[in-house]
C-alpha cells in the first residue's frame, strides 16, 4: 500500500543523503521525494511517497526518527490532506488543428500553456497524480517530447488534522 510520509528536517547540507541512504540501506522503497523550505527559517519540509505494509511503515517512521537532523515524521492519511504534483510537459504540434485540439484538452484539465514554438507546446499542470496521469495519457498520441514532474507534496486540510 502507498503512504505519504511528511517530514520536518533541519535545513542542513547532507540531510537528503541521510534520508536517501536510510531508505536504500534498509530496503525501503521511495516512489517520490520532494523537499523545500517550510514556513519556519532553518526547517525544511520533505514529502516522501513510499509503499509497504504496516510493519514496514512502522520501521520507516522509527528509523527516520532516529536521524538527528530529522525533527518530526508522520505518516499522513490521504483523507485528511490535499496532495499535489506539478508537471511540465512538451508536446509535438505538427499542424494548427493539432495545436487547437491540445489547447482544448489543456482547458478541460485547467492546465496552462506556458511556452509556444512553431512545432511544440509546453504545458504546465498541477493536481493529484490521477489527474496528471489522465492528461499525459491523452497527450501521448500527439507525441510527448519531454516530461518533468516534481514529486508529490501534501498539506493538511484543516488546522485540526494538521500533519506537522
Amino acid at each position: 500500500m502507498k503512504h505519504t510520509i511528511a517530514i520536518l528536517v533541519e535545513d542542513q547540507p547532507g540531510v537528503m543523503v541521510r534520508v536517501a541512504s536510510l531508505f536504500t540501506r534498509r530496503g525501503f522503497n521511495i516512489e517520490s521525494i520532494a523537499v523545500g523550505h517550510s514556513e519556519k527559517p532553518g526547517i525544511s519540509r520533505m514529502t516522501i511517497i513510499t509503499s509497504g505494509d504496516e510493519k514496514v511503515l512502522e520501521q520507516i517512521t522509527k528509523q527516520l526518527n532516529k536521524l538527528i537532523d530529522i525533527i518530526r515524521v508522520r505518516d499522513i492519511s490521504p483523507q485528511n490532506v490535499i496532495e499535489r504534483e506539478l508537471v511540465l510537459v512538451k508536446v509535438h504540434t505538427d499542424s494548427l488543428s493539432v495545436r487547437a485540439e491540445i489547447i482544448q484538452l489543456v482547458e478541460i484539465f485547467k492546465a496552462k500553456v506556458v511556452y509556444v514554438e512553431r512545432n511544440t507546446l509546453t504545458i504546465e499542470m498541477s493536481g493529484d497524480e490521477e489527474k496528471i496521469n489522465g492528461l499525459l495519457e491523452l497527450l501521448k498520441p500527439f507525441g510527448i517530447i519531454e516530461i518533468v514532474r516534481t514529486g508529490r507534496i501534501a498539506i493538511a486540510r484543516s488546522k485540526k488534522n494538521g500533519y506537522l
Binding site: 528536517v9 547532507g14 543523503v17 540501506r25 522509527k62 526518527n65 532516529k66 536521524l67 538527528i68
Partner: protein, 561 residues
C-alpha cells in the same frame, strides 16, 4: 580572547573529561597533534597506535570497560577510512565513541585533493551522527554535541571531520552549557501505564524468563535487574552482549542464550510463557529461526530505542526508556513470588542434559585453559576477546559476575578487535587484570598493536588459542561442507613467541595442561605484557551449536536422557 581551532578542540576534550585519546597523526591532522606538543601539560594521555583500526578498537575497549566516551584521532583519507570497520563495530554494539578525523582544507574539499575522502558520506550508515566542521565558530558546539549524542540515549559512535584550515583558524571560544536539538530527545522515563501492564503480566505468568542484552550494561541497570529477579524468582538468561549484566553465580542464572549458547538456556527460554526482554534487539544469533522462537511466549520488550521494538519480533507490551529507571519503577510495583514449580522444572531439565565435553586426556583444551582463568581470577578480571571459536569458548566457559568485564565484538564480529580493545580496557582500568583471549587467525589482523602494548608497558595477558586454522569457519566446513577445508588452514603462521620477543615482550608456548597452569601463574605474577601461545587440538569444536536457520531449541552436540 581568541583561540585557534586546535586550542578549542583541546579545551573541549578537557571539558568532556577525556582521559585518553588513541590515534595516528598525518598531514591533515598535524595542527591538532602539534597543539598536543605545544601545551605545557596535555590534560589526557595520548597513545600512538600502529594502525588507525587499532586506535578505534582501543577507544572502543576503553569505552566498554569504563562506560565513558572513547576518543580516537586519525588523519584524512586512508587514516579516516581505516576507522570504518571500528565505527561499524561500535555502531552495532552501541558503544559511545567520538572519532576526530583530519580533512583537507575547506577550499580543496570536493577537488579530489591528496588524501581527501568524503568520510562523512562514507560513514553515514555506521555512525549515530557525523559532522564536518566548516567554520571554526561552529567547532565548540559540534564537539559538545558529538559527545552528548555519543553517550546519551542508545549510545553510538559519532565522527567529527576537521578540515585543516578550520583547525588553524581562530575565534572566540564559548562552550555551550547544554545541547538543544529539536530532532533528538531520547525518552528516559517509561510509560507508567505500560509499566503497570508489564507488572500485571509478570504476576500472571507461570513460566517467565528474563533475557538480558547489552542495554542492561549500557544502561547501568544490573543492580535493578538483580533486584527484580531476586524479588520475583524469575530465571535469567544472558545474551552474548548481556554477559556480566546478571551474575552467573546467582542461583537464578540459567545460561547464555543463542546459536552458540548453552543448551539449558535455549531449552528453558523456548518453553517460557513470558519473555521479559531487557535491552536486547532479538538478533538472529539469539533467536535462531524467528518463526520458531519461543512459540508459547508473550513478550515484554524494554529498550531505549523505539526502533528496536517490533523490528524483528512482535511484542505484547513494549516499554521505551531508560532501563535503570524503568526497572526501578517495576521493582516498586511488583509483588514477591516464589516460582517454585517453574524453578524445579528447570532443575529437572538441567539434570536430563548430557554434554559431550569429556576432558580427560593431557591435551590442552580451551575449556581447561578457561577453567584456570576462572579459578585464578574468580570473575574479577576483564576478559577481552577476538572473534571466532575462542570467543564462543570464552563466552560460554568464563565466569562473568560483573558488568563491563566481558568485552567482545558482538554485532559486527570483527576479527582483530581483541588486542587493541584489551589495550583500551586496561588503560581504563589499570587496577583490574585484563586477559585477551584470541585466536591465531584474529590475532594477526591487528598484530601490529603489540608495539603499542609493549612500548607503553600495558600489562595484558594474551591467551592465544592456536589451532592453525580459521577455526570457526573450519568447524562449519567440517559440519556442512564435508570437511572441505578451503582457505581456512593457517599454514605459514609465524612463531608467535618470537614475534612478541621481537617487539620486546615476553612470550611462552605451551602444549599440555600442566605446563599451561604453571606458565599462566608465572604470567600473572610478571605483571607485564605476556603472550601465551596455547597449542590446542586442531579440530576442537564449539559444541553445542544451533545450525544456521534452525530453531534454538534444536542444538547439535548434546544428548538428552
Amino acid at each position: 580572547m581568541k583561540l585557534s581551532g586546535t586550542e578549542i578542540i583541546l579545551e573541549c576534550l578537557k571539558r568532556e573529561k577525556v582521559k585518553v585519546v588513541f590515534g595516528i597523526p598525518g598531514a591533515a591532522i598535524m595542527p591538532l597533534y602539534d597543539m598536543f606538543g605545544k601545551v605545557e601539560k596535555l590534560p589526557f594521555r595520548n597513545i600512538l597506535t600502529r594502525h588507525e583500526q587499532g586506535a578505534i578498537h582501543a577507544a572502543d575497549g576503553y569505552a566498554r570497560a569504563t562506560g565513558e566516551v572513547g576518543v580516537c584521532i586519525s588523519t584524512s583519507g586512508p587514516g579516516a577510512t581505516n576507522l570504518v570497520t571500528g565505527l561499524a563495530n561500535a555502531h552495532l554494539d552501541s558503544v559511545p565513541l567520538v572519532a576526530l578525523t583530519g580533512q583537507v582544507p575547506t577550499n580543496m574539499v570536493g577537488n579530489d585533493a591528496f588524501q581527501e575522502v568524503d568520510i562523512t558520506g562514507i560513514t553515514i550508515p555506521i555512525t549515530k551522527n557525523n559532522y564536518i566542521a566548516r567554520k571554526v565558530e561552529d567547532l565548540a558546539a559540534i564537539i559538545k554535541e558529538a559527545f552528548y549524542i555519543a553517550r546519551s540515549g542508545r549510545p553510538g559512535p559519532v565522527l567529527v571531520d576537521l578540515p585543516k584550515d578550520v583547525q588553524l583558524a581562530e575565534c572566540i571560544f564559548k562552550y555551550p552549557d547544554r545541547v538543544i536539538r529539536r530532532g533528538y530527545k531520547p525518552s528516559v522515563k517509561g510509560h507508567i501505564k505500560q509499566i503497570r501492564l508489564a507488572v500485571e503480566k509478570i504476576s500472571g505468568s507461570t513460566r517467565p524468563v528474563i533475557i538480558t542484552g547489552g542495554g542492561v550494561i549500557n544502561g547501568n541497570a544490573s543492580d535493578e535487574l538483580q533486584k527484580l529477579a531476586c524479588k520475583t524468582n524469575i530465571p535469567v538468561v544472558n545474551t552474548f552482549m548481556g554477559a556480566g549484566s546478571f551474575p552467573e553465580n546467582n542461583h537464578l542464572y540459567v545460561g547464555m542464550l543463542g546459536m552458540y549458547g548453552q543448551y539449558l538456556a535455549n531449552k528453558v527460554t523456548s518453553s517460557a510463557d513470558l519473555i521479559i526482554a531487557l535491552g536486547t534487539r532479538f538478533d538472529d544469533r539469539i533467536t535462531g529461526n524467528l518463526t520458531q522462537f519461543c512459540p508459547n511466549a508473550e513478550i515484554i520488550h524494554i529498550d531505549i530505542d523505539p526502533a528496536e521494538i517490533g523490528k524483528n519480533i512482535s511484542v505484547k507490551i513494549p516499554i521505551v526508556g531508560d532501563l535503570k529507571n524503568i526497572l526501578h519503577q517495576m521493582n516498586s510495583h511488583i509483588a514477591e513470588r516464589k516460582n517454585t514449580e517453574w524453578l524445579n522444572e528447570i532443575r529437572e531439565i538441567k539434570q536430563g542434559i548430557c554434554l559431550n565435553t569429556e576432558d580427560n586426556d593431557s591435551n590442552l583444551r580451551p575449556k581447561y585453559i578457561i577453567k584456570c582463568i576462572n579459578e585464578f581470577f574468580k570473575g574479577e578480571a576483564i576478559i577481552v576477546t577476538d572473534v571466532g571459536q575462542h570467543q564462543m569458548w570464552a563466552a560460554n566457559y568464563c565466569q562473568f559476575i560483573h558488568p563491563r568485564t566481558f568485552i567482545s565484538s558482538g554485532g559486527l564480529g570483527t576479527m582483530g578487535f581483541g588486542l587493541p580493545a584489551a589495550i583500551g580496557a586496561k588503560i581504563g582500568n589499570p587496577k583490574k587484570p585484563v586477559i585477551c583471549i584470541s585466536g591465531d587467525g584474529s590475532f594477526q589482523m591487528n598484530i601490529q598493536e603489540l608495539a603499542t602494548a609493549i612500548y607503553n608497558k600495558i600489562p595484558i595477558i594474551v591467551i592465544l588459542m592456536n589451532n592453525g586454522y580459521l577455526g570457526m569457519v573450519r568447524q562449519l566446513q567440517e559440519l556442512f561442507c564435508d570437511r572441505r577445508y578451503v582457505s581456512t588452514s593457517l599454514s605459514g603462521n609465524p612463531d608467535f613467541v618470537k614475534i612478541v620477543e621481537g617487539y620486546g615482550g615476553t612470550g611462552f608456548r605451551v602444549n599440555n595442561k600442566e605446563h599451561f597452569s604453571s606458565i599462566f601463574k608465572k604470567a600473572v605474577e610478571l605483571e607485564q605484557f605476556v603472550l601465551i601461545d596455547c597449542q590446542i587440538p586442531q579440530e576442537e569444536n564449539n559444541f553445542p551449536m544451533v545450525q544456521p536457520g534452525s530453531s534454538i531449541n534444536n542444538m547439535i552436540g548434546v544428548e538428552e536422557s
